[in-house]
């Protein structure tokens, strides 16, 4: 299967259990399989994009996935946008909505 596009939304932090990290790895696996993958980190999920938080974002970037970090969630947690790791980009919800409404995009929310 090739050509599908996925928007994966991770809303939970690493301390909620192992599923958040595994969800990011699912995105990396899809990207390695040739799918176009966007991963949005939102709510507590934004912590995965902080330095020292783990290697999930790095693995996604290495696999070719695009990693987005929700600006509002960062601000709500007093996390400066310039603190996110280089493999991730800070975006607003309008950008996410544009991707979500794209043809053939499949959305999975965790």
């Amino acid at each position: 299967m090739t050509g599908a596009e996925f928007l994966l939304v991770e809303s939970q932090g690493a301390w909620s259990g192992p599923m958040a990290e595994r969800f990011l790895d699912d995105g990396a696996a899809l990207a390695r399989a040739g799918q176009r993958v966007w991963v949005l980190l939102v709510q507590d999920g934004v912590t995965a994009a902080l330095p020292g938080a783990g290697s999930g974002v790095d693995r996604l970037a290495a696999a070719g996935a695009t990693v987005w970090v929700d600006d509002f969630s960062l601000a709500q947690r007093a996390l400066p946008a310039d603190r996110v790791v280089p493999g991730a980009a800070v975006v607003d919800m309008d950008t996410v909505a544009g991707r979500l409404l794209g043809d053939g995009v499949r959305v999975v929310w965790h």
Binding site: S11, V42, Q43, D44, D70, F72, S73, Q76, D92, M93, D94, V96, A97, G98, L100, L101, V105, V107, W109
Partner: protein, 145 residues
């Protein structure tokens, strides 16, 4: 030998299609889940899209009339009114007439005693869940059970 053939069923009217269906099930005050869902809905609406929100589980609690129009006073800013969730939903629906709908699940409402919703909420049985999904170009399920 003749075979009886049933008459063709009358064509069903084509139902309106919505761009996005957000099924929101999480407890509204346990995280910023509902805030995220509303932000996403607003962003889609700002882009000209149409959105339905199916409030399920504890999300059915947020449109109850006993919550009033404003939240209890914020002691740091007692002079400033903060809209209650029913007011936020009402403002969302009024802000994008015809392009956003709020559905309350009857079973989830009944189980929680949340039976007095603002009049803008359209109540639907879970038996219409699949039909509602079929009317949507894209469905996103947000939250736990």
């Amino acid at each position: 030998m003749s075979i009886d053939v049933a008459p063709a069923a009358p064509a069903r009217p084509r139902l309106r299609q919505w761009d996005l269906l957000l099924i929101v099930t999480g407890a509204p005050y346990s995280s910023d889940l509902l805030t995220t869902a509303l932000r996403l809905a607003q962003a889609v609406l700002r882009r000209g899209g149409s959105v339905r929100i199916w409030a399920c589980g504890y999300t059915t609690m947020v449109t109850q009339t006993p919550l009033g129009e404003v939240k209890p006073p914020n002691l740091q800013h007692p002079e400033r009114p903060y809209p209650s969730m029913p007011t936020v939903v009402r403002q969302l629906l009024a802000g994008f007439p015809g392009r956003v709908g709020w559905i309350g699940c009857t079973a989830c409402s009944g189980e929680r005693g949340a039976t007095h919703h603002i009049e803008e909420v359209r109540l639907r049985s879970p038996a219409r869940f699949a039909a509602t999904i079929a009317q949507s170009g894209r469905t996103v399920f947000i939250g736990g059970a």
